[in-house]
């Protein structure tokens, strides 16, 4: 696990994680003050939930993907990857260790966001407590399941095509999966188009993993069947991304 330790220490020394940690910890408490919740105290909790998960999404998509791209690029360009190759560490192992180091920073951020929802924005009615815990754990699971392979993808793409390509491609895929497919769906409901329909059908529907609305409308936890389907769906996408990442990742720029 030498590359893991090295990457973990590198990320730690770059200090950008501290900004994300600060944002995830502070923004959920500060942002509601400038929303309409300042006039209506009953809206503080929904505003806090939205801010907590919104900040987490932004931090992961901006800092997480950027860090992954930078690590992937520097691993192949600086000769680090080549050095570890000579010590017998395979490309897949290198990708896994770099990914794991970065993932170790994302998981606490996600846990903090879920914790803020659980402890500072829980519904007052005690009968809703169990639902609240289940829903937050479901959200946490889906979030990590969606973003874990995307971090690896950003890392792998940038090791081959450069940091900008790795970051932009991953960012675009995520935004498209979160919001683009929803708009495409509305357009297709108005006017059918078989080509677009096929594209839509085989697009990653990350919007299912965004449970923020269920939290702030207190719609209740996902039913067992739907949650199992979602886990299956995102695990399948994880497998695809893992495959693509393995294919794309390379340890040196001229290999």
């Amino acid at each position: 696990m030498r590359l893991f330790k090295l990457t973990f220490a590198t990320i730690f020394r770059r200090k950008a994680w501290a900004i994300c940690l600060f944002a995830v910890l502070v923004i959920p408490f500060v942002l509601p003050m400038i929303s309409s919740a300042s006039e209506k105290p009953v809206l503080v909790q929904p505003a806090r939930i939205q801010a907590a998960w919104g900040t987490l999404f932004v931090c992961t998509m901006v800092w997480g993907f950027f860090a992954a791209s930078r690590l992937g690029e520097s691993n192949s360009r600086s000769g680090t990857g080549e050095y570890f190759r000579t010590t017998g560490m395979s490309a897949t192992r290198q990708l896994f260790e770099i990914w794991l180091a970065l993932f170790c920073y994302i998981v606490p951020l996600a846990l903090i966001a879920a914790g803020i929802c659980l402890f500072t924005a829980a519904p007052g009615d005690s009968s809703e407590k169990a639902m609240w815990w289940t829903l937050n754990l479901q959200y946490l699971t889906l979030f990590l399941l969606v973003f874990a392979p995307l971090l690896a993808l950003a890392c792998a793409l940038s090791s081959r095509f450069g940091g900008i390509t790795g970051f932009c491609a991953t960012f675009f895929i995520t935004i498209y999966g979160l919001y683009g497919v929803g708009y495409l769906d509305s357009m297709l409901k108005l006017e059918a188009n078989s080509a677009l329909q096929a594209i839509w059908l085989y697009s990653p529907q990350y919007r299912f993993a965004d449970l923020t609305q269920r939290l702030y409308f207190k719609t209740g936890a996902l039913s067992g069947e739907v949650f199992a389907n979602m886990v299956l769906y995102f695990t399948a996408i994880l497998a695809i991304h893992a495959g693509i990442s393995r294919l794309c990742f390379r340890t040196s720029s001229n290999a």
Binding site: L201, G220, A221, E225, V226, Y233
Partner: protein, 353 residues
């Protein structure tokens, strides 16, 4: 001679700051170059129209959204409204093609995502939050394409329906919305659909004036003359629609539209014609019996000829373009007044002033 590079940098910054301070003041104060916020120029652009369409369900879905069953017209025998056929959901074992199965799977997750499993009813605060969200979306879609029939009507409906709206200044907002829509739509001659939207906006304002007679039977705020002037706007829009349709036929532009769009235009034009005709009759009745507000209220007679369930009761409105203003003054005056009144009494406050 060797110059200190810092001095050059500091001089550059100093000159820049001075120039910036000197030049920015007239620019900021110049009203002519003050443009409304419009990211990438998307609002009112052809791309905006496409995005707005994506946010907009079919007209029937909206107009009949409040009904629990299929919509009922006054003349069901001749009703030609397009009703959405319920999709025949295949039995679970029949999804044989991989595409079908995947679609069913994705649809299932989509349904599960919005399914309410919490047995506790949503609180008032949450309902308010939801309504605010809807209103923001409707306004966003309207800004993208103010000439879109559905965008305008959906937003108008929302603003004038007291059970739904969340903003205190409903009355002037709806009036300003109608006025803006009419001005925008009548200034555009590239698409007949915009003229239909203008006619619908004029019809909505007349409808609100009828509602005012319901609320203030003894002292209506709007005269039949004001209604007539709006009816003229409606006629003007309908004439513009016919004119542009003629041009499109001559230039063969209809072929660019899909069958669904054509059907939509046909349906909307039929609807606008019907509304215009009914409102004309109702105003004529009001002119004959201006103080009859019982069961035989002409406005009621007009109501019964409609198949819309979008009756916005309780809001007077400032007439739109080309119409005399009511005594209370323009929309800004009304806005100030209604802001002064308490939020809880907003329904009656703006009307009683």
């Amino acid at each position: 001679m060797k110059t200190n590079p810092n001095i050059i940098s500091i001089a550059l910054i100093g000159v820049g700051v001075a120039g910036f301070a000197f030049a920015s003041r007239p620019l900021v104060k110049n009203k002519d170059i003050d443009v409304p916020l419009n990211v990438l120029g998307i609002n009112r652009s052809p791309y905006g129209e496409v995005f707005a369409m994506a946010m907009q369900g079919p007209i029937d879905t909206f107009f009949h959204a409040t009904e629990s069953k299929a919509h009922s017209c006054d003349v069901p025998a001749t009703c030609q409204h397009q009703t959405t056929e319920p999709k025949q959901e295949p039995a679970s074992g029949k999804h044989t093609a991989p595409d079908d199965r995947l679609r069913h799977f994705i649809d299932g997750m989509g349904a599960g995502l919005v399914e309410r499993t919490n047995p506790t009813a949503a609180s008032e605060a949450h309902k308010f939050f939801l309504r605010r969200g809807i209103e923001d979306k409707l306004r966003f879609a309207y800004n993208l394409d103010p000439g879109h029939y559905g965008n305008y009507n959906a937003y108008h409906f929302f603003l004038t329906e007291p059970e739904l709206g969340t903003r205190p200044e409903l009355t002037p907002t709806a009036a300003k919305l109608a006025e803006e829509t009419i001005t925008y739509c009548l200034s555009r001659r590239d698409d007949p659909r915009l003229a239909l939207t203008a006619a619908a906006a004029a019809g909505n304002v007349i409808e609100l004036m009828f509602s005012d007679r319901h609320v203030n039977p003894g002292n209506p705020r709007f005269s039949t003359g004001q209604m007539r002037s709006l009816l003229d706007v409606s006629d003007q829009a309908i004439a513009l629609f016919s004119g542009i349709c003629q041009e499109w036929t001559e230039q063969g532009l209809w072929e660019n539209l899909s069958a669904l769009r054509l059907m939509e235009i046909e349906e909307r034009s039929r609807f606008v014609y019907k509304i215009r005709e009914s409102q004309g009759k109702a105003i004529a009745l009001l002119e004959i019996t201006p103080f009859s507000y019982g069961v035989e209220n002409p406005a009621d007679a007009w109501r019964t000829t409609r198949d819309l369930k979008t009756d916005p009761f309780g809001y007077g409105v400032v007439p739109g373009r080309k119409s005399p203003k009511p005594d209370t003054g323009n929309a800004e005056n009304l806005s100030r007044k209604s802001q002064g009144s308490s939020q809880s009494g907003r329904n009656t406050a703006s009307l009683s002033e």
